[in-house]
Structure formats: structure tokens, C-alpha cells
């Protein structure tokens, strides 16, 4: 089995909203795959279909080689699922959460006990294991949540925005755990996120999702390299006509993909450092005052901008 997940032309509509509009991607076995996109792009809908929670209106998908619509029961045994909301039961202890969840998979008692201890140790929850989960910090609850998704040794793990709502420290800790999991357990992980940094750090390959479709896919580096060249971002200080500034920037030799958002101008150039004086001169000549100018190597944000025509921050806001 070469691909752990294969989604082909998935379509799902809710009323008039087309949440998925022919979404296709595939995930090589044993890798971390990122579905990146803003809220409402269709990431969670895709996860709901792949985890047998929801049925697509059209298209097909396999997980661990099993058809998600025809072999629901087998798919459910092969996957672990960590939903967007932390779904531990606050009234019971960490250990009980794991044991009850494991029992749903029919794990034999002794195996379940051993696996529970193993996971509690792995996620640093051994000491808190017998305290009610309501006494856990957000980061600890999320770790327990992920541990629950692993209790039956799934082949594919789904993590739907696993670090949303966590503080930076807890987020970094969870990143380390997730990266380790793929390496140690030979697991395939599908991760959805609206944090560019998260996708960049964890995913071997990723797909950028926009309005229910994949607009770009590949490794983070390949996607960035595709852009060829550096980004120049100029923040305008004055209130001059933006159109004029945009035209002036467009006249700079080698500048391409000029865009405006708010009081911010962007362009792509081959050599950022060499282009800065030219850009400043051109804007100055057009009577545009510049507050700040930065040069950056391509980021996933640039990739996102290139493929959707919008910056990520704009979308997230």
C-alpha cells in the first residue's frame, strides 16, 4: 500500500455552501501530511469524511487502503482521530479516559493496561494519571486527547487543528510529540492547521486548501522554491493613492506579482537586496512615502498568497 490516504474529487455541500468542491490529495504511508487553509476552507469537512463521520455527496476516498464509505467498520479500527475540540471526559481520570476509549476498540484487558501505561509515560502524564482530567492544563488535556487517539495503535492518525488554543510553550511541546510519533510508530499523520509555522515545521508534504479545493501541493520547500525569488514588502506611511504606488512598483525592473493589501505593497524579485534601492527610488519618484521595507525569503504565506490571491493573515482575520 503506497498511499495511506487517497481523496479523489470529494464534494460536500451544506445547504447552499459548497464546503468541498472536488478536493483531491494523497498521503504517502508513514509521513506527516498537512492540510493548510483558513477557517472554512473545508479542512474539517475533509477530515470528517475520511474518518467516516460524514459522507461525501460525490467522490471517493480510501484510508489505509479501505474505502471510507464501503468499509466503515474496518476504517474505524485503522484510524485514530483527535477532533478540533479537546474531547476528554473531565469527570474521569486520565487513565480512565484511555481505558474506556481503548475498550471501544475491544482491546484485551491486559494489552489495554500495558498500552495505557505506555502512552501515559510517553506523553508525560504518568504522575497525573489518576487525577480527574478537569484538573489538567490545556496542554495536558490535549496530550491525553492525542494519547486516546493512539490507544489502539492505529495506522493513520487524524489531528484536526491540534494546537489551536494552546499557549506557545504547550504548542512547541506538542509539535515535538507529533514529530516523534511519525518517526517511532511508523504512523501516517494527517494534520489540519491554519498555522503556517505548524505546517512548515511538521509536514513532509502539504496541500493548501482554498474554498474546498487543493490549490497547491508538495513539500513546504518545493512550494517555496517554486516561487523563485524574494518577497519585498513595503508599508506605506502616507495616504497617497495606492494605485499610483502599485504602478510605480510595477515599473521597477524585475518586480513581478505586485499586490496591495491595506497599506502594504508586495512584490517578488530575483534578488531582494539589490532591488530595495530601486524600489525606494521608484516609490519616492512617484511621491509615495514608505514607512518600512523588508526583504524576506519565500514563506508559506507567500505560497498561499500566490495560489489564492490573498494573504494568510487577511483570511485568518
Amino acid at each position: 500500500m503506497h498511499h495511506a490516504i487517497q481523496a479523489e474529487r470529494l464534494v460536500k455541500t451544506y445547504g447552499k455552501v459548497r464546503a468541498l468542491d472536488g478536493l483531491s490529495f494523497e498521503v504517502p504511508t508513514g509521513t506527516i501530511f498537512g492540510l493548510l487553509g483558513p477557517n472554512g476552507a473545508g479542512k474539517s469537512t475533509a477530515v470528517r469524511i475520511l474518518t467516516t463521520l460524514s459522507r461525501p455527496d460525490d467522490g471517493t476516498a480510501t484510508v489505509a487502503g479501505l474505502d471510507v464509505m464501503r468499509s466503515q467498520d474496518q476504517v474505524r479500527l485503522a484510524i485514530g482521530c483527535v477532533t478540533q475540540k479537546i474531547s476528554v471526559d473531565p469527570a474521569t481520570t486520565g487513565r480512565e479516559n484511555l481505558v474506556l476509549h481503548g475498550a471501544l476498540y475491544g482491546l484485551p484487558r491486559r494489552d489495554l493496561r500495558r498500552r495505557t501505561d505506555e502512552l501515559l509515560a510517553r506523553f508525560g502524564l504518568a504522575e497525573a494519571a489518576d487525577r480527574p482530567a478537569r484538573t489538567y492544563s490545556g496542554g495536558m488535556q490535549r496530550k491525553l486527547d492525542v494519547a486516546m487517539g493512539l490507544i489502539h495503535r492505529p495506522r493513520v492518525l487524524f489531528l484536526d487543528e491540534p494546537t489551536t488554543g494552546l499557549d506557545p510553550e504547550a504548542r512547541a511541546a506538542l509539535w515535538a510529540e507529533i514529530a516523534g510519533l511519525a518517526a517511532d510508530e511508523g504512523l501516517t499523520i494527517l494534520l489540519t492547521t491554519h498555522y503556517l509555522e505548524e505546517a512548515d515545521r511538521l509536514a513532509a508534504t502539504l496541500a493548501i486548501v482554498d474554498r474546498g479545493r487543493v490549490v497547491a501541493a508538495g513539500s513546504p520547500d518545493a512550494l517555496k522554491n517554486e516561487l523563485r525569488g524574494d518577497a519585498i514588502v513595503a508599508d506605506l506611511a502616507g495616504t497617497e493613492s495606492l494605485a499610483e504606488a502599485e504602478r510605480a512598483l510595477g515599473r521597477v525592473p524585475g518586480a513581478r506579482e505586485v499586490t496591495v493589501s491595506g497599506r502594504r505593497l508586495r512584490a517578488r524579485v530575483d534578488d531582494g537586496a539589490a532591488a530595495v534601492p530601486l524600489v525606494l527610488a521608484a516609490l519616492d519618484a512617484a511621491g509615495v512615502r514608505v514607512g518600512a521595507i523588508t526583504v524576506a525569503r519565500p514563506s508559506l504565506d507567500d505560497v498561499y498568497l500566490r495560489h489564492t490571491g490573498r494573504t494568510f493573515e487577511e483570511e485568518a482575520a
Binding site: 470528517r48 474518518t51 467516516t52 463521520l53 460524514s54 459522507r55 468499509s71 467498520d73 474496518q74 474505524r76 479500527l77 485503522a78 484510524i79 482521530c81 483527535v82 477532533t83 478540533q84 475540540k85 479537546i86 474531547s87 471526559d89 469527570a91 474521569t92 480512565e96 474506556l100 476509549h101 475498550a103 471501544l104 476498540y105 475491544g106 482491546l107
Partner: protein, 273 residues
């Protein structure tokens, strides 16, 4: 509930025959949580005790009305309180489903091989068990307050059985509301809207012979009244077993139908995802 098609292969075999096991796990987990917080058990007893002791005092002389045949009101009230307890406890059970949905626990559970029926059976079993405990306590306290049960143990068993069937019906209804409405407010509003009239349109606290004709007519179709009538009849000195079994059978039918509809509500919830 759908019977599972047993797939071939190693892993899938584990899910075989899991309905019972899963139901047991859910029930045991709920009981464990309740056991750990015994104060909730006390809370659960406050309402029936108020009905039993305060109604018992307040309406003491109601039995002087024609239609009560001069019986002791506490004797009359005990089966009514056990039944009222069943409908009010049952009507709230869907709140747990709403909470599970809000917390994301429901969606996560539906991505596991858990049998959907087990989630419902777990809820019914837990509420049935807590009702049995409360019922026994109410009957005991009633006895201490001076009630007499000439029907003896068989009468008490019928009372508990009737309330168990009734709570199964109300739980299923409440769970279905929870799955369809998905908000606590709507669920509680709708449940209250149904439970109070159903209680007053029964002979739980007032003898039918003392009630107006239209109430008497309506209550003949009211499952709450069937449970009260079956219990009261079985607790009497010379029960008419035909009446008792007839009412119990009708209650079982209602519980089955609502149980089936409750399971269907699960399908409708999942379709909306």
C-alpha cells in the same frame, strides 16, 4: 440499531459481539462517576422526597373527596411519586447527549467502532438503574411515613418494572430531542412542555374519579397513567392482573417504539455532519 456485518480479517474480529460489551462500559462508567460524587445521589432524591412528604401532607385530606374511596393518601401517592420520578429523570437524560456533542466527545466516539446502539443502551441502563435505587428509597420512606402496600413484594416489583419501562420511553424521547435539537435550552423547554401536562393528565397525584371527564378520557391514552394504574393496582389488596399486564404490555410497546425512534435520531444527527 444495525447489526454489524462481521468483516474478514484479524483486526475486525475484535469488534464482533461488542454491543453488549460497549453498553456495559458506558453504563459502568456513568455509575462510577456517580458513585464518586455521592452528593449527586442526594440531589436526585430531593425532588421525590419533596413530592412524597410535602404533597403527602398538603393533600392529606384530599381523600375525603368522593372518588378516593376513603383510602390513606400516602398509600395512594407512593406509586405516583415513583412514576413522576421516572418521567422527570428520564426527560433530562438527553442533556448528557447535548453535553457530549458540545464537548466533541460524540463526534470522536462516532469515529470509533462503537455500536451506536450501545451509547443509547448505556444511557437507558444508567437511568434505569438510578431509578431503581430511587424507587426503592421512595417506597421505603413511604412505608416509614405510614404507607401500606397490601400487594406485597409482587406489587413493589410491578411498580419498579412499570417505572423502568416508562423511564426507558422518556429517556429515548429526551435523547432523540437532544440529538435533533442539540441545545440544552430547546431540549429542556420541549421536555417540560410534555412532562408537566402528562403528569397532570394522569392519576399520579389525584384520583381519576375526582377529576373532570375530559382528563379521564385523555389519561386513558397517557402512558404515564398506565404506569400509575399498573403500579397502584398491583400494590392493592386484590390486584386485577389483567389490568396490570395490559398496562405493562402497552408501556413496553411505547418504550420499544420510542427506543427505535431514538436510534433513528442518531442516524439523522450523523447525516447532518
Amino acid at each position: 440499531m444495525t447489526t454489524m456485518t462481521v468483516p474478514r480479517g484479524g483486526t475486525a474480529v475484535r469488534a464482533k459481539g461488542s454491543l453488549l460489551a460497549h453498553s456495559w462500559h458506558f453504563t459502568a462508567q456513568s455509575v462510577k462517576v456517580l458513585w464518586r460524587q455521592p452528593v449527586y445521589m442526594l440531589f436526585m432524591l430531593v425532588q421525590p422526597m419533596i413530592w412524597l412528604l410535602m404533597f403527602g401532607q398538603l393533600f392529606q385530606r384530599v381523600v375525603e373527596l368522593p372518588g378516593f374511596a376513603g383510602i390513606n393518601y400516602t398509600d395512594f401517592l407512593v406509586p405516583g411519586v415513583v412514576v413522576m420520578n421516572a418521567i422527570f429523570t428520564g426527560a433530562w437524560s438527553g442533556v448528557a447527549f447535548v453535553e457530549m456533542m458540545e464537548r466533541g466527545i460524540m463526534d470522536r466516539m462516532l469515529t470509533t467502532p462503537v455500536r451506536r446502539g450501545a451509547i443509547i443502551i448505556g444511557s437507558l441502563a444508567y437511568h434505569g438503574l438510578s431509578l431503581l435505587v430511587q424507587g426503592v428509597i421512595v417506597i421505603t420512606v413511604g412505608r416509614l411515613a405510614g404507607a401500606d402496600y397490601p400487594g406485597g413484594p409482587s406489587g413493589i416489583l410491578v411498580t419498579l418494572l412499570a417505572s423502568t419501562l416508562l423511564i426507558a420511553a422518556f429517556c429515548s424521547m429526551s435523547n432523540a430531542f437532544g440529538l435533533l435539537l442539540r441545545t440544552r435550552e430547546a431540549l429542556i423547554g420541549l421536555s417540560q412542555f410534555l412532562t408537566l401536562p402528562l403528569m397532570f393528565l394522569s392519576s399520579a397525584i389525584m384520583a381519576q374519579q375526582a377529576a373532570p371527564d375530559w382528563i379521564r378520557t385523555l389519561s386513558a391514552y397517557n402512558p404515564v397513567d398506565w404506569a400509575v394504574v399498573a403500579s397502584r393496582e398491583a400494590l392493592s389488596a386484590s390486584p386485577d392482573w389483567g389490568t396490570v399486564w395490559g398496562r405493562l404490555g402497552a408501556l413496553a410497546a411505547v418504550a420499544l417504539v420510542l427506543g427505535y425512534l431514538g436510534t433513528r435520531a442518531f442516524g439523522s444527527y450523523q447525516k447532518s455532519l
